[in-house]
Subunit: 303 residues, 2 copies
Amino acid sequence: MGSMTHLFGGIEGGGTKFICAVGTSPEDIRRQTRISTTTPEETLGAAIAFFQDAERDLGRLSALGVACFGPLDPNPASPTFGFILPTTKPGWSNVDVVGILRSAYDLPIGFDTDVNGAALGELTWGAAQGLDTFIYLTIGTGIGGGLMANGKLVHGLLHPEMGHIRIPHDKERDPYEGWCPFHKDCFEGLASGPALEARWGQKAETLPPNHPAWELEAHYIALALANYMVTLSPQRIILGGGVGGRADLLPRVRRNVQELLNGYVQSPAITEKIEEYLVPPGLGNRAGTLGAIALAQAVYKNK
Amino acid sequence: MGSMTHLFGGIEGGGTKFICAVGTSPEDIRRQTRISTTTPEETLGAAIAFFQDAERDLGRLSALGVACFGPLDPNPASPTFGFILPTTKPGWSNVDVVGILRSAYDLPIGFDTDVNGAALGELTWGAAQGLDTFIYLTIGTGIGGGLMANGKLVHGLLHPEMGHIRIPHDKERDPYEGWCPFHKDCFEGLASGPALEARWGQKAETLPPNHPAWELEAHYIALALANYMVTLSPQRIILGGGVGGRADLLPRVRRNVQELLNGYVQSPAITEKIEEYLVPPGLGNRAGTLGAIALAQAVYKNK
């Protein structure tokens, strides 16, 4: 069999749902399902059953990839590789996700954060093709960023948690104190979906485009992006998620970023062509699921 | 001749002085000089004369490394590789540093930011040995950070400019507006040496350890470091420079970082052993000069 016929399984593990898919590429997803995130036994059990069914009908999988909510341990050399670390999500602290999957499947299993997975998906098939240093940022229920530097996903000590940077918070303009249980008014505490809902008293998706919420939101997002830009010098930033992916938000964010940087980063990519620099995901809302498939392909290649 | 006998030249190019050195390692610097930064012709001319003299007495150099103030173009594939980009430093905008050196020396020439050079020096001989993802941050007249991720210096779009992140600025606690000509109260605008001098009316080095300046300074540094930590997940941060390298400042910064992160990054490296995580340069104030030598060795190895 040629390499084109290898089938891969992907799990996008989120706090409310797990999406499982089997396929080879964005154009060739042969089966997909959505499982509610309840207990680890139930949720991962349903995932295993899905892949077993799929294998019966479609053939053997070559590897599994798991792009999961964190914090987690993505280091294959660590004794807790494949575990979710202590988390505020009830029941999921210290769960050995990879171990549970491996007990059913003797396969190479790739495991990384949801956002690192999405970054790899965007590199493989989406808006980051050909780049070596970029960020995939999602803004929704939470805020997280996946980071690739010099052609490899960055883990470092553990993995990035970009949503938790501190940004200036003008309490006269915005008295809302922020909701992050660890840091109150960090970026996630000020600009994620729950922050918008708490500040304005209605769900983010119901706020109309001309609502003042969005200029403030664009300001906070731009503060964070400008910080990532001077810290990392990414070649591109991909902005997705239920809040971050709003088409009417992106032009405002771009304008705010340029104002904040004020010409300091002397690259035409930012000063002239920012609409090609700060972009939506090429894979739309499938970046996470396809990223999990990409993690499976990567672990298979390096096995 | 074995590789141990290769001689390398290094230039640490700063805004006030250029330090030129010839040697093989921290224990084997055979000659060194200090040149005032005046015009490019004069300063680079004196550097060339120094290396020519050194070669006559010590033997041929195998490569040159230049760790220079920026912004600059470190990308060997770019038409402006080796140039300093438009800068506020009079006379140095668009100077072709590598081209000028190459007109006198037909040698491999490594060229990167002063802080990326220092990071490479710390990796090779200092406090970052064995790591693959870390930051070297210097706080002095300016603030800059060198970044290594996955074992390679990060350039991305251009190179990091970490001193220019925005951090929360409580104007009641600190009414000083900041001096950065681009961003006013970014990190560099609030916490570099000139900011300390402008805020307190005396030079930073004359402020005694019990002066309230230092608790505020530790707070600002910790805000920036906490942001770098969640953005990049570095395995270690090395803090140097005239201000950042003060021995009495480091314990305060560590305590502030732990308070700001509030247990969010679940690694014993931060929660328990932060004194091994946030450290002074292993090479002391020689990181930049030795980093230039390390850049020369790297370009020679990859030539």
